[in-house]
């Protein structure tokens, strides 16, 4: 696999701009308007003009509200790259990978990667956006008729299998939620900043056992964008570049099939291995980890799959005090999807860029040389990994 090291230093991909709209219960704007705002913010952040953008990759959330017509909304003409992308929660990482390939090959020079969603409607519950039963026919209809609505029960079944197989407990899942809330308290961008305890977790209502409300991510309106360009182009821009050292994807394709891995092992194993190999690094080199956390359980299984602890030890690892601002592993430093904001794969990616730049204020990790970003989509069936750094990729092609 050709990575940044295989091209000349000036052609290597960097993230040069970051745009994040107001997120959370923000009403009166459509997903496409959030997307346009996020791109404008990212362009301004980089110190570029909109006319410098010659590539646009768009990604929608649950409302499927961002279309390729975003090009027209932004007044972008003569693009060299334009596409909608969809790998569910893995999309943000996949967009950066596509953009990195585009800029290092010269296909495009400045690629905006944007996600936006507007699932929250004023006066309606968050669950109504995601809990919709499918059409009353087809294989999806059969699942709906069998009692399934939305992703919660499917992840709960995966989590139960992990708990039964490895002895993972509800209290260990709660430790993830508490650690991330401790980070969110320090994050002015976070939606939930009130400190919480294990008792708060244990007392929150069941959504679908083994998940309580505080095991589940937020639902948010908003948009986020990053600009990907080459190291050469980024050299005289407004912000310190965040270099893309490695990437990987894995799509196991075993959803709703007999799969001995179900709930136990995810695509993070293969996706992570590819990204680390490209970067010439190992998990021991990671200073900050931003792992996709649609549920507390997703964090536990991802910690194992990336090798931060042994398989089956994710629960005890989380409960050991290793996580949180005082912990040994700087994980989901903004509070993650559980406590900060839920913009699918843009939640870990935006926080990773902020940390890599060293601009995270009170929650800044002291060491942030290597930042790992994961994306997880579908029901653990799509995975993407990025390895980012404030330092350029060294060695390789001249």
């Amino acid at each position: 696999m050709s990575g940044p090291r295989d091209v000349a230093a000036g052609r290597r991909p960097v993230i040069a701009g970051l745009g994040l709209t107001d997120v959370g219960k923000v009403y009166g704007r459509s997903a496409q308007q959030f997307a346009a705002d996020a791109v404008r913010l990212a362009v301004a952040d980089a110190g570029l003009q909109m006319s410098d953008v010659d590539g646009l990759l768009t990604s929608s959330g649950v409302t499927r509200g961002v279309a390729m017509s975003l090009q027209r909304d932004l007044g972008l003409t003569d693009l060299a790259l334009l596409s909608e992308m969809q790998a569910f929660g893995a999309t943000a990482g996949a967009m950066v990978q596509m953009a990195a390939l585009a800029v290092q090959s010269g296909t495009a020079s400045v690629v905006a990667c944007v996600f936006a969603d507007d699932p929250l409607k004023e006066g309606k519950t968050a669950g109504s956006a995601y809990g919709t039963r499918r059409a009353p026919s087809g294989w999806g209809g059969l699942m709906g008729a069998s009692g399934y609505a939305g992703p919660n029960p499917l992840y709960a079944l995966a989590a139960r299998r992990h708990m039964q197989t490895y002895g993972t407990t509800t209290e260990q899942l709660g430790a993830v939620a508490v650690a991330q809330r401790d980070w969110a308290v320090l994050n002015p961008l976070a939606q939930l900043r009130t400190p919480m305890t294990l008792a708060d977790h244990a007392g929150s209502r069941w959504v679908v056992d083994p998940f309580r409300k505080l095991d589940c991510c937020l639902v948010s309106n908003g948009g986020a964008a990053v600009l990907v360009t080459t190291a050469e182009r980024a050299a005289d821009l407004a912000r310190p570049p965040v270099h893309v050292h490695g990437w990987g994807q894995a799509h196991p394709g075993r959803l709703l099939k007999h799969s001995e891995d179900f709930g136990l092992v995810t695509g993070a194993v293969a996706s992570g291995a590819k990204a680390f190999a490209m970067a010439g690094l190992t998990v021991q080199d990671v200073d900050v980890a931003e792992l996709y956390d649609c549920y507390t359980y997703t964090v536990v299984v991802s910690l194992e799959d990336y090798g931060f602890c042994a398989k089956g030890e994710g629960g005890p690892f989380a409960a050991s005090g290793a996580l949180g601002p005082e912990g040994t592993l700087k994980l989901n430093t903004g509070g993650g999807q559980l406590s900060s904001y839920y913009l699918w794969g843009m939640t870990p990616l935006t926080e990773a860029v902020i940390q890599a730049r060293g601009e995270a204020g009170e929650r800044q990790a002291d060491a942030h040389d290597i930042v790992l970003v994961s994306g997880n989509g579908g029901i653990l069936d799509h995975h993407s990994t990025l390895i980012l750094s404030p330092h350029p990729v060294s060695g390789g092609a001249a």
């Binding site: 009353p136 294989w139 709906g144 069998s146 039964q164 679908v208 083994p210």
Partner: protein
Amino acid sequence: MVGPLDRDGDTAPFLDGTARGEFLLRRCPQGHWSEPAASTCTACGSVELSWAASTGDARLVSWAVTHGRPDGDTPPPRHVLAVVELDEGPWWWTSLVAADPEALSPGIPLRVEFARAAEQYEAVPVFRPV
């Protein structure tokens, strides 16, 4: 207990089976079993799949318990969702009936039965501990 379900072209053969009390699976010429929605054999990649009845016996792989919102003093209704492994090998995402959530464990034996939301809707498979 089960929701309303209509048939479409993809599910019609399977729902013909549920209507006569059979849980059908896909089977390739080499005898490998695949799940009902498969169009390619999971084991060998064959696309020549036919429908064949399973025994309807299964074992529990995993389960989750939905809790409705409490209504006054009435305890919220509970419902057990489950992944089951048919004896032939394929897995199926379903609901359990007459199951005490506290008494479940991986591997317990289950047997299929069928339920309709109302007379005009299709029969949906559910599983009961035996």
